[in-house]
């Protein structure tokens, strides 16, 4: 049975392969960028308020910091309790042109031992979890030195 691929959150990312991008919004009045996206209001207190348009964020950034999750996170995180818990790494990535930091999981197989602060990473499509009908998709960060 084939599962439907569905983003875990609607409107936060788009595209496949090389075309994959996180999606934010930008205020037409003050050029502030928002991720997660703001669609109803600009949060810059010095801005009179403009229209918010969707923009793709930079594909690459640098590691601001990183950590991992050695224990199974509680619900609503979904994991198979039948399987032994396998820790995954989390990276906070600084995007230079947007001047913001975005958190994300690394691609499977990359551990904290592979990471350093300041390292270049890129955003790639990933799978968060699967259930009977759905493959829930997400974004992952991958060090640019890694090709797998």
């Amino acid at each position: 049975m084939s599962r439907t691929r569905t983003p875990v959150v609607t409107g936060w990312f788009t595209g496949e392969g090389e075309e994959f991008r996180l999606l934010g919004t930008r205020c037409s009045a003050c050029a502030s960028v928002f991720f997660p996206r703001e669609d109803a209001f600009c949060r810059n207190p010095g801005c009179p308020g403009g229209d918010l348009e969707e923009i793709p964020l930079s594909r690459r950034g640098r590691v601001w910091s990183y950590t991992d999750s050695r224990y199974r996170p509680p619900s609503p995180y979904v994991s198979d309790r039948e399987l032994e818990w396998r820790p995954y790494a989390l990276i906070a990535v600084e995007l230079e042109s947007e001047r913001l930091v975005v958190l994300g999981q690394t691609v499977p197989g990359v551990t904290v031992a592979d990471l350093t602060v300041g390292m270049e990473v890129e955003v790639v499509p990933g799978v968060l979890n699967e259930d009977a009908e759905t493959t829930w998709t997400t974004w992952h960060w991958r060090p640019t030195g890694v090709t797998a």
Binding site: T67, D68, R70, Y71, S75, P76, L90, R99, L100
Partner: protein, 396 residues
């Protein structure tokens, strides 16, 4: 400068995992504070409860719940919620009522009964809630954020795992002296290093537990204190409850990203630094005037961060300050003389109130074996999820 309010009484229910309800803990703490103040509950004009989201429905209306448990007597009531900063908001609400003349004597109570394991968001499918999203999309528990901050300090300032462990060693030694602390055993650096990694680079003994516990304060006008016979009470001189300024460029719990600084320059100094600055400005004191500080050591590394945010040392110098012993008992500025969250474990709505209880006992010279000699000025600091600053300065 804002006027002062008197701390007439302080009380706690000891921290632990007692398996009972938060109302019971809060009532014990409230009665202890009232007895300490020598005030009859029926003479209290207002009660302010710090809410617990984990205690269930009555927790959301904590003020009235405690008033009912103590016996309805018609007092004015308020309940506040600001995550970890709830206690400071409760103190501030009480202070505002006293300074505006709405009440002479106010009882402030916070209590929690914590679940086992990680804190988690409220149930249901709630993609509009950032706290729900960070768990669903990233599995980002609180300790993973503490891990990010710790790793960042190691990379930028050269802090080491040994530095982090020494914070735990210091706080555990103080907690061993505190009858209200949950953990009353000294800990060695080797024991920290041997504990399991929870969120790299932090280990179990670097991270504070979640606890049951309760704390309460009886606050009054200076005029009431004089009439009541308290000639020289501990006074609350400042309560900072500031929010961040846009763009907030430090990744804060529970957010998945920071604000963007592309269109607006960040203010000088971080949100955490602004929390303390607002308290200093309101109190008319500076870090050089402090006798002690109670800071929110959710992790060992975060205690070091607070040293810098409170201005106890320059940026990047916290580990040096720790290594010099300045923040240990007998040092220039003892930090977490209570034993801190390392020894208590966090009981969310009670914790910021407990910090003020410790200042009260220290400033009275009644802190027993953990007394900071000649304490005159103390500060508390914490930060609540979603943008809640919290800092109290008390003097005597």
């Amino acid at each position: 400068m804002t006027g002062e309010v008197a701390v007439l009484g302080a009380g706690m229910h000891p921290w632990g995992k007692w398996g009972r309800g938060f109302v019971e803990y809060g009532t014990v703490a409230a009665r202890a504070a009232l007895a300490d103040a020598g005030v009859d509950w029926r003479d209290v004009g207002s009660i302010v409860g710090a809410d617990t989201v984990r205690g269930g429905y009555p927790g959301y209306v904590a003020g009235a719940t405690f008033a009912k448990a103590l016996g309805w007597q018609g007092a004015r009531v308020a309940s506040v919620y600001a995550a970890c900063a709830s206690g400071a908001q409760a103190v501030n609400t009480a202070r505002a009522q006293i300074l505006s003349g709405l009440a002479d004597v106010v009882l402030v109570v916070g209590a929690d009964a914590a679940p086992k394991g990680f804190f988690r968001p409220a149930g249901g499918d709630r993609p509009d809630d950032p706290d729900w999203l960070r768990f669903r999309v990233l599995g980002a528990t609180n300790p993973t954020y503490f891990g990010l901050y710790a790793r960042r300090r190691m990379a930028v300032h050269g802090d080491t795992l040994e530095d982090f462990a020494q914070v735990k060693v210091k706080n555990a030694a103080l907690g061993a002296l505190n009858p209200n602390a949950r953990y009353r055993k000294r800990v060695t650096a080797e024991e920290v290093a041997a504990s399991a990694v929870v969120a790299d680079p932090l280990r179990l003994l670097d991270i504070c537990a979640t606890s049951d516990g309760a704390a309460a304060l009886v606050l009054s006008s200076m005029e009431f204190a004089r009439r009541h016979g308290a000639a020289d009470p501990v006074r609350i001189r400042a309560v900072s409850t500031v929010t961040p300024r846009y763009p907030n460029t430090v990744l804060d719990l529970p957010d998945i990203a920071t604000d963007s600084a592309v269109a607006a320059e960040p203010a000088a100094g971080t949100f955490r630094a602004s929390i303390a600055r607002a308290a200093y400005e309101e109190a008319g004191v500076g870090p050089e005037d402090l006798s002690l500080a109670e800071v929110y050591d959710l992790s060992t590394a975060l205690e070091l961060q607070w040293y810098e945010d409170l201005g106890l040392c320059g940026e990047g110098e916290a580990a040096k300050l720790l290594r010099e012993g300045a923040t240990a008992p007998g040092g220039r500025i003892p930090v977490n003389a209570s034993g801190g969250l390392a020894s208590f474990g966090e009981a969310v709505p009670a914790q910021a109130i407990a910090q003020v209880c410790e200042l009260t006992w220290q400033l009275r010279g009644a802190a027993g074996d953990r007394q900071v000699a000649g304490a005159r000025v103390g500060i508390t600091a914490n930060q609540g999820l979603f943008g809640h600053g919290s800092s109290v300065i008390a003097v005597r």
